[in-house]
């Protein structure tokens, strides 16, 4: 760590976030390697340390003799104040080197409300925000992650962007950087070569064109040989990908502080609101034997007390039952538990949950997402009222007493009836809980209702978000009705969802707003305590940009969209078809069990779904 921070540590909360020296942190000698990468997470240590993508990249980069990777997190507000007072710039955890000393600084884009933190971290590192203002000697600022599929609001700040899976392309990037050092290439020559790699987007080589009335028209490559469309990267063989043998084991409590096994990548359920379900396709399952080996090594090297089977919907993994049973048999005796982050809404899911939670039964969470069958058909969440009844009754009968339900409001075609459906469902769940005599404690239902944010590369990407006024009225409608003491109702502020919608479908003109917002003190926007909407309102006013045009306007399906050159392999015709089917409430089935839905990913990227085979019954 940076020794200059030591005198500040007694003055800040949770100082061990900044002290480094965790088990398996890699301290490589700076003179022994050619290329130095800072993996920069735009939130605090406690959040960033749980991120699997960076664990994978950290292991891959540090696994090379000629490269090193170090970690950088946003310091919490109290530490920022101390650092600014002492004029200490942002440094990496391992070596304490300033970000400006690295060759590459890579940010992960997990969600739109983290964008201000990226600018704030550049500010703290004393690196100019805009790529055009950075000198030859400054590091290249890169980014990747799900929000890279519409990176346009950040385009002016980033030197290059990686679309899709990073495990293979990271090596290609590092090789090019090393070559460019050997050949003494200018920054622009290196960027030109990077732009030639599949999946790499160099924003400064493109220029958006807007019409006189301010609508986005198209984006044009500014040079010869620059691809008009960038296709995301998908790894060759998910099963054979290297996986970290050790995780850095933090001292302070962080999220997802456990062994994480990635059982599956991608999801083909096809929920029409879900961006992850679209951009991570195709679906690939990891062989259970490979998983068991990876888990054994990680348990041995970390000493973690919990193994989490992670993916977008781990309950759907073909071999989930046998895998869970094998892991329980192997680890139960040595105080290591198994957890599933997402459960299936059926009796199979309950059986699995029962097996895992042998001891105390705390809460179970389900996500019906919408209050009526009609609306669930619209969003293609293929769960029936019957499923829900069976599973919730099963859960109460098995001894659970607290059920958490996730819903969204502001979904396309929503009516008052659908809101009443949420209320009905909450009371029904409570009634099922009261009927189940075996429940030892009083049943409790918690209902969490998010405001829907239309996301790029989904069938709802054209849809205007409900106005904040409408969303507030819907929240009030629910609040007035969900007033039973046994029902706990929670809902995030509509302002946060509004801002997310603006940036999710934003274009490059929002760069100015971001800069202004950071100047006005906006950061940590996903932290309710730090979110200051009035500052955002001022930033929009000051820059003369109307946020409602981004969030609330329903686009015509033929209107050009600012993210269409950033391809996740999904065919626009598929999205339009799904949008039409949604309006008529027609479900689309899951291509892992049923017919191909024509989403385009497999032919476009020359990939296929990979399911693990059933074990032979002998």
């Amino acid at each position: 760590m940076d020794k200059r921070l030591i005198p500040l540590l007694p003055l800040v909360s949770k100082p061990a976030r900044y002290t480094n020296h965790e088990l398996h942190a890699k301290h490589k000698n700076w003179t022994d390697v050619a290329v130095k990468v800072a993996l920069a997470f735009p939130d605090i240590y406690d959040v960033g340390m749980g991120h699997l993508g960076f664990k994978i990249l950290y292991a891959l980069i540090n696994g090379r003799k000629d490269a090193l990777a170090e970690r950088v997190y946003a310091p919490w507000v109290d530490m920022q104040t101390q650092m600014e007072e002492a004029s200490i710039p942002l440094t990496a955890l391992e070596s304490g080197q300033e970000l400006g000393a690295f060759d590459l600084v890579g940010f992960t884009l997990q969600h739109e409300l983290s964008y201000t933190n990226i600018l704030k971290m550049l500010d703290l590192a004393q690196i100019p925000r805009r790529s055009s203002q950075r000198s030859q000697k400054m590091p290249l600022i890169m980014a990747g992650g799900p929000s890279a599929f519409n990176v346009e609001p950040l385009a002016d700040f980033l030197d290059f962007v990686v679309l899709g899976e990073g495990e293979e392309v990271i090596h290609e990037i590092l090789d090019l950087v090393i070559d460019s050092q050997a050949q003494n290439l200018e920054k622009d020559e290196l960027l030109q070569k990077l732009a030639g790699l599949d999946g790499i987007y160099v924003p400064s080589y493109y220029q958006p064109i807007y019409s006189a009335d301010g609508r986005f028209q198209r984006i044009e490559p500014l040079r010869q040989g620059i691809p008009p469309k960038i296709e995301k990267r998908v790894v060759q063989d998910f099963n054979r990908l290297p996986y970290p043998e050790e995780f850095v084991v933090p001292y302070v409590e962080v999220i997802h502080d456990r062994v994480i096994a990635e059982v599956m990548r991608g999801c083909t359920r096809g929920c029409r609101f879900c961006q992850a379900g679209m951009v991570y396709r195709p679906l690939r399952e990891r062989d259970p034997e490979v998983l068991k080996e990876q888990i054994a090594r990680l348990v041995e090297n970390t000493g973690y007390e919990e193994i989490s089977l992670s993916s977008l919907s781990s309950g759907d993994y073909s071999q989930i039952g046998p895998l869970v049973r094998d892991l329980m048999a192997e680890y139960q005796g040595c105080g290591v538990s198994v957890s599933l982050p997402s459960l299936r809404l059926d009796s199979f899911g309950i059986g699995l949950a029962q097996e895992i939670q042998k001891g105390r039964k705390t809460g179970l969470t389900f996500a019906p997402e919408a209050g009526t069958q009609r609306l669930r058909n619209v969003i293609n969440k293929n769960v029936t009222d019957e499923d829900l009844k069976e599973v919730v009754q099963g859960a109460f009968a098995a001894g659970w007493s607290r059920i958490k339900l996730y819903f969204m409001i502001g979904l396309p075609t929503e009516t008052e009836e659908d809101l009443e459906g949420i209320v009905d469902l909450a009371y029904k769940v409570l009634a099922w809980g009261k009927e189940a005599r075996s429940a030892k404690r009083r049943p409790e239902v918690s209902v969490s209702v998010a405001s829907f944010v239309p996301k790029p590369h989904t069938p709802f990407q054209w849809m205007g978000q409900d106005s904040m006024k409408t969303l507030r009225a819907k929240q009030r409608f629910l609040k007035e009705r969900l007033n039973d003491r046994a029902i706990q109702f929670s809902y995030p502020r509509v302002e946060e969802s509004f801002l997310e919608a603006v940036f999710a479908r934003g274009d490059r003109r929002l760069a100015e707003v971001l800069e202004r917002a950071v100047d006005l003190g906006c950061q940590f926007d996903s932290w309710t305590d730090c979110f200051r909407f009035e500052r955002w309102e001022q930033a929009f006013r000051d820059t003369g940009i109307d946020p409602h045009l981004y969030a609330g306007r329903t686009r015509d399906v033929l209107e050009p969209l600012p993210w269409e050159h950033l391809s996740a392999g999904i065919d626009g015709r598929f999205l339009r078809r799904e949008w039409e089917l949604a309006k008529t409430g027609t479900p689309t089935l899951d291509c892992r069990w049923d017919d191909c839905t024509g989403c385009g990913v497999c032919p476009e990227l020359q990939v296929a779904n990979v399911l693990v085979k059933e074990k032979s019954s002998e």
């Binding site: 003055l11 061990a16 002290t19 084991v249 001292y251 302070v252 970390t302 000493g303 007390e305 105080g335």
Partner: protein, 229 residues
């Protein structure tokens, strides 16, 4: 015998900013990595049988932390020490270990005093600290306001400071050692020690160098020599 091993360990500069809970989690994970046969409590949610001496304030170093680990079978203390040290992260180090007698009292009940080494880096205040200690010796009480989770109250901390000695100024700054009350009954906090002697605990480098059972003017450590200090 009891299958309980009592050991003394350090908390070095690399881990001085860990909270007590951070330390508990870290030491538990190291037990699992070392594959030591820790015993578990009975009940709904079995917990490994591991207990510690009084929590060290965040930021303070120690050469004398103590732990009691219960095992499922009898372990050789030397073998435990070797295996555990191999898995402990930088900054934690077991210095000595002994198997506990069946009827030995719990760790915390054998401790009511601590010896602290205080370094005030780049400060030359040895004379002031000496004068202050002279003055304090003539005082029967010294009342401070103590903030707790339950609110704040006035408390006389003078009886909790037993001795200040070795006050010197050298190349590192001003150094001295203090014997103070520790635990539930006569606890002296570091900010209160600072208030008594007139220094800022946030600027000091403090090390806990001993924990004892104080009987009259004798001090008995929880491990090793039964002789008094």
């Amino acid at each position: 015998m009891s299958n309980v091993i009592r050991f003394q360990f350090t908390k070095g500069p690399e881990v001085r900013f860990l909270s007590h809970l951070d330390m508990v989690r870290t030491l538990e994970r190291a037990v699992r990595r070392a594959r030591l046969p820790i015993a578990y409590s009975e009940g709904f949610t079995p917990r490994p049988i591991m207990s510690y001496s009084y929590a060290l304030p965040v930021g303070v170093l120690s050469e004398a932390e103590y732990g009691d680990f219960g095992f499922a079978l009898a372990l050789d203390p030397e073998a435990f020490m070797t295996a555990y040290n191999e898995q402990l992260p930088e900054g934690f180090r077991v210095l000595r270990a002994e198997e506990l007698a069946e009827d030995a009292p719990a760790l915390q009940s054998t401790i009511n005093a601590a010896r602290w080494k205080v370094v005030l880096p780049d400060q030359d205040v040895a004379q002031e600290i000496k004068a202050r200690w002279e003055e304090l010796q003539g005082l029967d009480s010294f009342v401070v306001r103590r903030e707790t989770k339950k609110g704040s109250r006035e408390i006389d901390v003078r009886p909790f400071l037993f001795q200040v000695e070795g006050i010197v100024h050298d190349s590192t700054g001003t150094c001295f050692e203090c014997l103070c009350g520790l635990g539930n009954e006569a606890n002296l906090r570091m900010d209160e020690l600072g208030a008594l002697l007139g220094f800022s605990h946030l600027e000091a480098l403090i090390t806990r160098i001993g924990q004892f059972r104080r009987v009259g003017n004798s001090y008995f450590p929880p491990l090793g020599s039964r002789d008094s200090l």
